[in-house]
Structure formats: structure tokens, C-alpha cells
Amino acid sequence: MELRPTDALDRRAFLHASAALLAASLAGSNATAVRASKTPPFTTEIAPGVFVHRGQHSLFNPANAGDISNSGFVVGREAVAVIDTGGSAHVGAHLLAAVRAVTDKPIRYVVNTHMHPDHVFGNAPFEREGTTFAGHHKLARGLQARADRYLGINKELLGAEAFEGTRVVFPTLAVHEAMMLDLGGRSLRLTPQKTAHTDNDLIVRDSATDTVFMGDLLFSEHVPTLDGSIRGWIALLNELSAEPAQRVVPGHGPAAMAWPDAARPIQHYLEVVAMEVRTLIKENRTLSEAVSVVGMSEKSAWLLFDEYHARNVSAAFAELEWE
């Protein structure tokens, strides 16, 4: 069972619990004191030493406190690496408590798979001496240009209470090419990708269990959101599909999925959108026409379709009309 603040009471309990966690973590104290609290498990162990928290399929709102994306951590013999941190300091504090419920080993790395607020806004509670924040070498630039706006919008959507303590923590380690992070007895391979979901996507592969954290290069159930390049994304998923993995963790969707089967629905979605947009461009149709007709056959296949799909079409159109 996961912590899902679904009604007002749960929400108060969630925020109350995380406020204590947040206060503890921001004060730099060991969260062990609060770890004993009776919250249900925040994460699932999907493979030995690999823990994943499954976020809700929702927009940011005060009730979910920004808990709308997947995050996780990997425990080595000497140290821990956290992969993504959720959409607010509250979510980050819960994730930190979940780590501390499992191990007292130092959190040596926090890896952000890309710049979106639902994956990086939980960074703050992890900030302390000795913790390295790693990301794609373009992550810092992407965040620099957007952080002001992201913070403003998120504060508005979450409300002051759920937003409390949230701020931008920039990467301290810029990943230019594939590199290894050693956790003792196992290592993580970080691979920066070409522009796809965003221009700063990075995937993380655990050597010990052959588990790959795909970040938002992989969406399941939740409609994909395009903030990079549809051509790049289609090409990248084709490449990655050819690289076997024991299991993958999507940025949105189940905690663990089979690869490359998990990629099929998103590949289909992106291909349908690209193909239909190209047809309209060829017919000299317009962007406004495209957003109302393209990809409608995919509507029933995805959650949050109405919230994001038209925007994806708009972005795809603006990109593909330059072909």
C-alpha cells in the first residue's frame, strides 16, 4: 500500500507527517526519530536493494502535495543513490524517511532524470554535506531558465502548506557522457540522452539487478508529455528498445515494468501523433486545426489525455513543420 492522500483527512495526515519529516530533515537531524511513525510503506522493493515510490496520475494539487511522479533509491554496500525526488519538499521528505526506514548508509547521490518540477522539487530535504546532485549536463541550464516560473506555478497549484520548503537545488555533477556511480558492490550507470522528452533526459541503470530508471522517457497509463523533440523521442525509444533490461521503472506508471514491452504504447502514441501531424502539414493545414483532430484514436488509451494531449500536438506541429 502506498501513501495516497486521497481525502481531506488523509491529506491532513500526509502533510502533518511530512511536516514533521520536513522539519527534521531541513534541520539536518537524523530522520530516524520520525521513521518509527506508523505511515504505510512509501516504497516497494522491486528488486534486491531497489526501491520505487509510485506517484499518482494527477496534476499538481494541494491534496497530492506534488506526489505525481515515480521516484526511487538504490542501496549499495556503502552508500545510497536516490533517483528523482517528487514534486515538493514534502514528497522529498517522505522519500528520505523511506530511505532511512531501510538503511542508515549515507545518501551519496541524488540523480535527477530531467528538469520537470515533479521530479526535482523534492531535492531540498536531501541537501547536506557529502551528497552530490547529478544530472544531464543541460539540466542546470533548463532549470535556470524555468525555475522561477516553475516555482511560481507550483506554489499556486499546491498552496502554501504543501509547497512549504520547496526550492530549486541545482545539480553539482554535470553528466556529459555515460559514467558510473559507485555505491559499493554495485554501481549505477548514468547515460545522458539526446533531446527527446526534454533536452536533458538521463537514464540510470543498476548493475546489480539490471534495472533501468527511464525517467519520463517512459510513460505508462499517464499520457506522455512532450517538451523536447518528438522525432528525437521516437528515435531514442527505438534505440533503447534494442537494449535489454531485466526491468524498467517509468517516470509515470507502475513501479516496475517489462522491457521493451513497456515501450510499445508510448511508441505507438508518438508515432500516431507524428504521422497525423505530418499529414496535416503536407495538406497545408494549420496548427489550430491540428490540435483538435490529431491523435484522437489514442484518447481512450491514456489518463490525463485532455490535460496534455493537445499541447503535445501543438509542440509536435511546431517541430515537424520545419522538416
Partner: protein, 300 residues
């Protein structure tokens, strides 16, 4: 949301007046250099105010009376649904890429001199002024482009007629954050290709009476309102100031644009057939950099 202060309000209006002055081509005393200076001043003001761009005008405030005065002075602006038609989505999918279309019916177009596109609550309310030339055509004139919308706002198209009359169409658009948001999805790709143009003549059924073409220009259109969180400085403004589109040597229209035109400016428009059939485009950004492009001849 931050509330607007009186000082903010005055500064906003000053900003708008400058913007208006910048875009009012009748003020010939403003030399090119002065205009550039003024544009930089507008940017500086815009930058100062940009931090609170969403706070510039409260959601429910009617800024139109002040804006109208700033842009058109004491002249009367008449709402006329039959003289000019403005198409815009009620709710925009992407505030940084809001498609709009202006239609000027044939009965009006013969004496239409220019059309001003305004977005009431944007930091620089005058998005673009299209000044028609001899090749604009006597039939229905249609111009489609994409704009940034910074907060829920009215968008207006005001046509200026030969006799000085001002005719207006208005549409309300729900969108927010379009000016301060970097829409750049692939920053490197856009910067590497800045100035690249695609000019295409579109085959239409009515091709013998009205022609149609599309101009696309790669340009980041930096608004000067995008804050670099790490440095605390705003990313300097860099946008296209003018775009002149001609059929051969006959001008179709000239666009005096600002930060409200979306990244990679995209204009689709009608024009009159005749003469040299190639479409020529010359654009200039606020740094004085010039870009040019040309279509393949029609039918090739």
C-alpha cells in the same frame, strides 16, 4: 498573485506608451536610432516589471481604456464584427504558442492601411503592427500567426482605414505565462539555426484571385522577461523588430513586431497575384542583425 501597485500601474502605462510610440509609424521624428533606444528602454522597463509580469494588471482590471489612449490617442476605436474577424482559441494549449488569425473581408481590405494586434495584459501589449503594401491584395486578407499570452487577456485586432477610422475585433483568451516562459524545447537547435527561413507559396483553390504563402523564421524571440535563476539576471532580449514580406519588389506588408510574437515567428497570409511571383522576406532583430529568405517561384 501579486497585486498591482499604483506605481506599477503608472510604470505599466508608461511602458505601454513607449511601446505604442515605438510602433506608431506616423511619428517620423523618431529616428531609427532613437527607436532602437526606445525599444531598449521598453525592454529595460519590461525587465524591471517582468519579474512581476503576472502582477502588472489584476485579472479583472479593464486595461483597454488606458491602452487605447496610449496606442491610438483620442481617436475612436469602433468594435465591428463585420469589418475585421479575429480567430483565437478560448483556452490556449500552450501560452507561448497561441495561434491567431485575422481576417479582413474584401469590402474592407481595399482601404485597410494597417492592422494592429494587441494583447491587453501582456508586458508589451502591442504584439505586432502589419502595415499593408501594394501587393496586399484587394480580396479578403487573412493573416495567421502565433503569439505569447502572459495572462488571461483580451486580444484585439484594430484595422486602420484610409480615412483614419479604426475598426476592431476582440477575443478573450485563457492562457498564462507565455512571455516569461522559455518555450525553447531544444535550446541548442534553435540557437544553432537562428535566422534560418522557410518561405513557401501555398497552392489554393482561389489561386488566380488570391495567393497564399507562409513565412517561418527560426528565432528564439527572447523576451527579456526570462529570469536565469542561477545568476539572478534576466536573459537579454533578442527578438525580431521588423519583418518585411514582398512579392517580387512589391511589399505585401511589413511587420513591426515585439516580444509577444512566439519563438520561431510563423506568418501565413494572403496576397495579390501578379508580377514577379517570388516571395521575398527581410527581417531584422533588435541587434540590427538582418536575415533574408525567398520562396521558390510559384508552381516550381
Amino acid at each position: 498573485m501579486l497585486r498591482q501597485t499604483n506605481a506599477g500601474k503608472m510604470a505599466t502605462h508608461a511602458n505601454r506608451r513607449l511601446t505604442a510610440a515605438l510602433h506608431d509609424r506616423s511619428r517620423h521624428w523618431l529616428s531609427r536610432h532613437l527607436r532602437l533606444l526606445a525599444s531598449l528602454l521598453v525592454l529595460a522597463l519590461g525587465t524591471l516589471l517582468g519579474a512581476q509580469s503576472k502582477a502588472l494588471a489584476a485579472d479583472d482590471e479593464d486595461v483597454w481604456p488606458a491602452l487605447r489612449e496610449a496606442v491610438f490617442g483620442a481617436r475612436e476605436v469602433v468594435e465591428s464584427a463585420t469589418s475585421v474577424i479575429l480567430e483565437a482559441p478560448y483556452r490556449a494549449e500552450d501560452a507561448a504558442l497561441v495561434p491567431i488569425t485575422i481576417r479582413i473581408p474584401a469590402a474592407v481590405s481595399a482601404s485597410a492601411q494597417k492592422v494592429t494586434l494587441l494583447i491587453d495584459k501582456n508586458p508589451a501589449a502591442v504584439a505586432a503592427v502589419f502595415t499593408f503594401g501594394p501587393a496586399a491584395g484587394a480580396g479578403e486578407r487573412v493573416i495567421s500567426t502565433r503569439v505569447r499570452v502572459d495572462m488571461y487577456s483580451n486580444i484585439r485586432a484594430v484595422v486602420e482605414m484610409a480615412d483614419g477610422k479604426l475598426l476592431m475585433a476582440t477575443k478573450f483568451v485563457k492562457a498564462a505565462g507565455g512571455c516569461s516562459a522559455p518555450a525553447l524545447k531544444d535550446t541548442d537547435a534553435v540557437l544553432a539555426e537562428a535566422g534560418k527561413m522557410q518561405v513557401k507559396i501555398i497552392d489554393t483553390a482561389a489561386g488566380d484571385r488570391v495567393r497564399e504563402a507562409q513565412v517561418k523564421i527560426r528565432h528564439p524571440q527572447y523576451s527579456g522577461l526570462q529570469l536565469n535563476q542561477a545568476t539572478g539576471f534576466y536573459i537579454p532580449a533578442k527578438f525580431l523588430r521588423t519583418i518585411e514580406i514582398s512579392r517580387g519588389s512589391d511589399v505585401i506588408f511589413r511587420v513591426d513586431g515585439g516580444i509577444s510574437l512566439s519563438e520561431d515567428p510563423n506568418i501565413r497570409f494572403t496576397y495579390a497575384p501578379g508580377g514577379d511571383e517570388s516571395i521575398e522576406v527581410v527581417a531584422e532583430d533588435i541587434e540590427g542583425k538582418r536575415f533574408s529568405g525567398r520562396s521558390a517561384p510559384k508552381g516550381s
